[in-house]
Amino acid sequence: MPAAHYLILSFILFLIGTAGVLLRRNALIVLMGIELQINGGNLALLAFARQLNDQKGHVFAFLIIALAAAEAAVGLAILVGLFRSRQTINLDEATLMKR
C-alpha cells in the first residue's frame, strides 16, 4: 500500500489520542490518550521507513517504545502519588496552580 494511507491512519490515531487528552477528566484515560498519540507517531515512522526502504525508522520506533514505557511508568507513579494526597484522579480538581 502506498504510504499515504498509513500516514493518514497515523494522523487519525493521533487525532483520537488528542481528543482523549483534551476531553476526559479521568487522569488514567488521559494517559491512555497520550499512548495513542505516541503510537500514531510510531506508525508514521514505520510507514516512511517502508516507503524509503530504510531500517533506521525501525530503530527509532524501537527507542520510542522504550521511551513510552518509561514515560508511562513515571506518569502512573505520579498519578498514584496524586491519588494518595488528593484521594481523586479527577483532573478538574487538580487546581493547586490556579489562582
Binding site: 487528552v21 483532573l91 490556579k98 489562582r99
Partner: protein, 738 residues
C-alpha cells in the same frame, strides 16, 4: 620666560599631603618642621623668582605651563602659572607672612591635640592661595579661589565639636559660594565674548572697540556685566557689602587662622582679582564706580560697627572688612597701585594685630572680652610693643606704613579722572569723603581697642585670670616683632616719590607699572593737602578715643551709653543685618525646601513614582494572570488551535490584503502578482485569465504581459496556487482599454 613656578604651590601641597597622611603618628616638632619647611621653601623660591629671575624675564614675566588641562572644541585651558610683578608681590606676601604665622602657631597651638591636622590645613591653604595668585587663566585662579574657600571652611570649623564653630565654617563657605556664582557667570561671559579664559588674551581683547564693548543688557556693554559679576564674586571672598557677614563669625577659628586667612591673604583675593582684570574694569567706569562706592560704604559701615564690639577679635574682624573696603575703593578709582599697596601694608599690620590678639588671649586664659582687660601694657611688654606699632600703622600716623598706603587711596579717590568720561566725577569726591570718615572711624575704634586693653593700671578681670597673665614664649614673640618691623618699614616701598620729583622712589608703583599701567596721577597740591588732613583726622580719632577710654571706661563713654542705649545696642548687634538676612532669605528658603520635600519627595517620588510603579505592575500582572488557568488540557487545546492557525496562514500563497499591480500602456497590460517587490520564496503556479476569451495563461512566473485586440472593459482573473499545500488564492481586477 620659563621658570618652574609650579614648585611654589607644590611645596605646601606636598607638605599638606604628607602631614594629612602621616602627621598624626609623628612628633610635634617633626610636624612643625615639615610644615614650616614647605612654606619656607616656597618663600625661598618666590624670592628667587621675583628678585633674580623676574628682572631678566620679558614683558610677560615668568611662565610655567605644567600641562594641558582641558582641550575640547573652542575651549583650551592649560594648567599655567605666570609670575609678573603683581603676582610676584602677592607670592612674597603670602609665603613670608605665611611662614611667620606657621612659626607663631607652633607656640600658640602647642597644647592642641589635632596639631598635625592644623598644620596640614595651613599648608593646604597656602598652596591654594599661591595657585590663585599665580594662575595665568581664570579657571586656574578659580581653583585657587575655591581651594582657599575650602581651607577657610576647614580652618574656621577646626574645633568642629563645638556646633557654633562648625556653623561659622558653614556660613563662610555658603556665603562664599553665593559670590562664586557671580564669578562663574563673569567667567562664562568672558569666554563667550572673547573665546578665551587666559588673562593675557582677555587683556588684549579688552580694548575700546573690542568684543567686550558689545552691548548686552540694559544698554550696558559686556565688559560692564563681566566687571559686575566678577565683583560679586569679590564681595563674597573679600567680605564686602552685602556678603561680608561671614567674616566676623569666622573669628571662631584659631587666631593664627584669622591672622593668615582673614587678614592677610584670602580676603585680599578679591582685590587681587580686580587688579588682574584691570583692563576690563578700565573699559567701564560705571562698573568701577559701583566697586568704589561699595568699597567705601563698606569701609564706613564696618568702622561704625567696630565702635561697639566687645570681643578683641571681632573688632579686628570688622576692621579687616573696613580696610578691605579701602582697598576696593582704591582699585575702584583706578588707583590699582594704591589698592595693592594697601593690601601689602595691611597684610603686615593686620597680621600683627591678630597675632597680638592671640598673644593677649593666650595670656587671658583664652578670653577675648576686652571689658575684662586693661593695664596689660606692663604685663605683656612685647605684645604691647608690637600692638603699639601696628596700631599707629593702621591709624595712618606718618612714617608707619599705613600712612602712605591709606593716603594714596584717599588722595587718589579725590584726584581720579576715570569717572570724568562717564559724567560720574562726583563719585570720586563722594568716595573720598566716605573714606575720610572711615579713616576717622578706624582711628577711633582701634584706639578704643588699644586703650581698653593695654592702658590703665588695673586689669578688670578676676583674680584667677589676672594671676595667669604672662608674656608669650619666644616662638610667638619673634614673628610678632618681625611683623611689627614690617608694619613700620614696608611703607617705604610706596613712597609718593613724585611729590619730591623723584617718581622712581615709588618702588612698588614702578614695579607694578608693566602690569597695572601708569600710576594714578595725583596733583601735588592735593597729595600734600591730604597727607596733612589724614594725619589730623587720625589724630582726632585717637584723641576722641583717649577722652572716652584712656585707662578704661571713662565718664564720657558711660554717659553716651546711658543716653543712647538703643543706638549702642544696635551698633553692637552689627545693625542686625544677620537677623535681616535670616528673615528675608534663610527662612523662606527653608520653608521652600520643606515644602519641596513634602511635595516632591514624599508625594511625587515616593508615592507616584515608586509606589505607583508597583501598583501598575500589580494591575497588569493581575490582568496577565487571567490567561493562565493552571489547566494543562486547556493549554494543549490552545496549542492545537495555534498550530492550526499557523498552518492555515502559512499555506496560503499570498498574504491577506495583497493587491495586484496592473500597469497599462496603450493596449498592453502588465500584471505583477508578486507580494512586495521580491521574488516569491516558494514555487507557486499562476493562472492569468484576461477576460477576452483567449485561453488562460498558466505558468510559474508572477509577471505577465498581454496585448488586447479590441478596446473595452475587461475583468482579469488571476489565480495563484501552491501545488504542495493544495491551496489557492484568486484576484479580480477590472481594466479599461482604449
Amino acid at each position: 620666560m620659563n621658570f618652574n613656578l609650579g614648585l611654589i604651590p607644590l611645596l605646601p601641597f606636598l607638605g599638606a599631603t604628607v602631614l594629612m597622611l602621616f602627621g598624626r603618628k609623628w612628633a610635634r616638632d617633626t610636624v612643625f618642621v615639615i610644615a614650616a619647611l614647605a612654606i619656607g621653601a616656597a618663600c625661598m623660591v618666590s624670592m628667587y623668582a621675583f628678585f633674580a629671575a623676574l628682572p631678566d624675564a620679558g614683558p610677560g614675566g615668568l611662565q610655567d605651563i605644567v600641562t594641558t588641562w582641558i582641550a575640547t572644541g573652542d575651549l583650551h585651558i592649560d594648567l599655567a602659572f605666570r609670575m609678573d610683578a603683581l603676582s610676584g608681590v602677592m607670592c612674597l606676601v603670602i609665603t613670608f607672612i605665611g611662614f611667620l604665622i606657621h612659626v607663631f602657631s607652633a607656640g600658640y597651638m602647642a597644647d592642641e591635640p589635632d596639631y598635625a591636622r592644623f598644620f596640614a590645613y595651613l599648608n593646604l591653604f597656602c598652596g591654594a592661595m599661591l595657585v590663585l595668585v599665580l594662575g595665568d587663566n581664570l579657571p586656574v585662579l578659580f581653583i585657587g579661589w575655591e581651594g582657599v574657600g575650602l581651607c577657610s571652611y576647614l580652618l574656621i570649623g577646626f574645633w568642629y565639636s563645638t556646633t557654633a564653630n562648625a556653623d561659622a565654617g558653614k556660613k563662610a563657605f555658603i556665603t562664599n559660594r553665593i559670590g562664586d556664582l557671580g564669578f562663574l557667570i563673569g567667567m562664562f561671559l568672558l569666554f563667550y565674548y572673547t573665546g578665551s579664559l587666559s588673562v593675557p588674551d582677555i587683556t588684549t581683547a579688552a580694548s575700546p572697540g573690542g568684543p567686550l564693548m558689545h552691548t548686552l543688557w540694559l544698554g550696558q556693554p559686556v565688559a560692564f556685566w563681566v566687571a559686575v559679576f566678577l565683583f560679586i564674586g569679590a564681595t563674597g571672598k573679600s567680605a564686602q557689602i552685602p556678603l561680608y557677614v561671614w567674616l566676623p563669625d569666622a573669628m571662631a577659628g584659631p587666631t593664627p587662622v584669622s591672622a593668615l586667612i582673614h587678614a592677610a591673604t584670602m580676603v585680599t583675593a578679591g582685590v587681587y582679582m580686580i587688579a588682574r582684570m584691570h583692563a576690563v574694569y578700565v573699559l567701564v567706569p560705571s562698573a568701577m564706580a559701583i566697586v568704589a562706592v561699595i568699597g567705601a560704604a563698606t569701609a564706613l559701615f564696618a568702622a561704625v560697627i567696630g565702635f561697639a564690639q566687645n570681643d578683641f577679635k571681632k573688632v579686628l574682624a570688622y576692621s579687616t572688612v573696613s580696610q578691605l573696603g579701602f582697598m576696593f575703593a582704591g582699585v575702584g578709582t583706578a588707583n590699582f597701585d594704591g589698592g595693592v599697596f594697601h593690601l601689602v601694608t595691611h597684610a603686615f599690620f593686620k597680621a600683627g594685630l591678630f597675632l597680638c590678639a592671640g598673644s593677649v588671649m593666650h595670656a587671658m586664659s583664652g578670653s577675648g572680652d576686652i571689658r575684662i582687660m586693661g593695664g596689660l601694657r606692663k604685663r605683656l611688654p612685647w605684645t604691647h610693643g608690637v600692638f603699639f606699632v601696628c596700631w599707629l600703622a593702621i591709624c595712618g600716623i606718618p612714617v608707619f606704613s599705613g600712612f602712605f598706603s591709606k593716603d594714596s587711596i584717599i588722595a587718589g579717590a579725590f584726584a581720579t579722572d576715570i569717572f570724568k568720561e562717564a559724567d560720574l566725577a562726583w563719585v570720586g569726591k563722594l568716595v573720598g569723603v566716605m573714606l575720610m570718615l572711615a579713616a576717622l572711624g578706624t582711628a577711633f575704634y582701634m584706639s578704643r581697642l588699644y586703650f581698653l586693653v593695654f592702658s590703665g593700671d588695673e586689669t578688670r578681670a578676676d583674680e584667677k585670670t589676672k594671676h595667669h597673665i604672662h608674656e608669650s614664649p619666644a616662638i610667638m614673640v619673634v614673628p610678632l616683632v618681625v611683623l611689627a618691623a614690617g608694619a613700620t618699614l614696608i611703607g617705604f616701598i610706596g613712597l609718593p616719590g613724585d611729590l619730591v620729583h623723584h617718581p622712581e622712589y615709588n618702588l612698588l608703583a614702578h614695579e607694578l607699572e608693566p602690569v597695572l599701567g601708569h600710576e594714578l596721577e595725583v596733583p601735588h597740591n592735593i597729595e600734600a593737602i591730604f597727607m596733612v588732613v589724614s594725619t589730623l583726622v587720625a589724630g582726632l580719632g585717637i584723641a576722641l578715643a583717649m577722652v572716652f577710654y584712656r585707662g578704661g571706661y571713662k565718664e564720657p563713654a558711660r554717659a553716651f551709653a546711658a543716653k543712647f542705649p538703643g543706638f549702642v545696642r544696635l551698633v553692637q548687634d552689627k545693625f542686625r543685618i544677620d537677623e535681616v538676612y535670616d528673615l528675608v532669605l534663610i527662612r523662606p528658603i527653608r520653608a521652600f525646601s520643606r515644602g519641596l520635600f513634602a511635595f516632591v519627595d514624599r508625594i511625587i517620588i515616593d508615592k507616584i513614582l515608586v509606589e505607583g510603579t508597583g501598583v501598575i505592575v500589580d494591575v497588569f500582572s493581575r490582568l496577565a494572570r487571567t490567561v493562565q488557568g493552571g489547566d494543562g488540557q486547556r493549554y494543549m487545546a490552545v496549542f492545537a488551535v495555534g498550530v492550526a492557525l499557523l498552518v492555515h496562514f502559512a499555506s496560503q500563497p499570498t498574504l491577506p490584503f495583497t493587491k495586484l499591480k496592473v500597469t497599462q500602456t496603450g493596449r498592453a497590460v502588465e500584471i505583477d502578482a508578486r507580494r512586495g517587490t521580491r521574488a516569491p520564496t516558494r514555487a507557486l503556479e499562476y493562472a492569468f485569465d484576461f477576460g477576452d476569451g483567449r485561453p488562460v495563461v498558466k505558468g510559474a512566473s508572477p509577471e505577465q504581459r498581454h496585448d488586447y485586440d479590441r478596446p473595452g472593459s475587461y475583468t482579469i482573473h488571476v489565480t495563484i496556487s501552491d501545488p504542495r499545500w493544495g491551496t489557492e488564492d484568486g484576484f479580480k481586477e477590472k481594466v479599461e482599454v482604449r
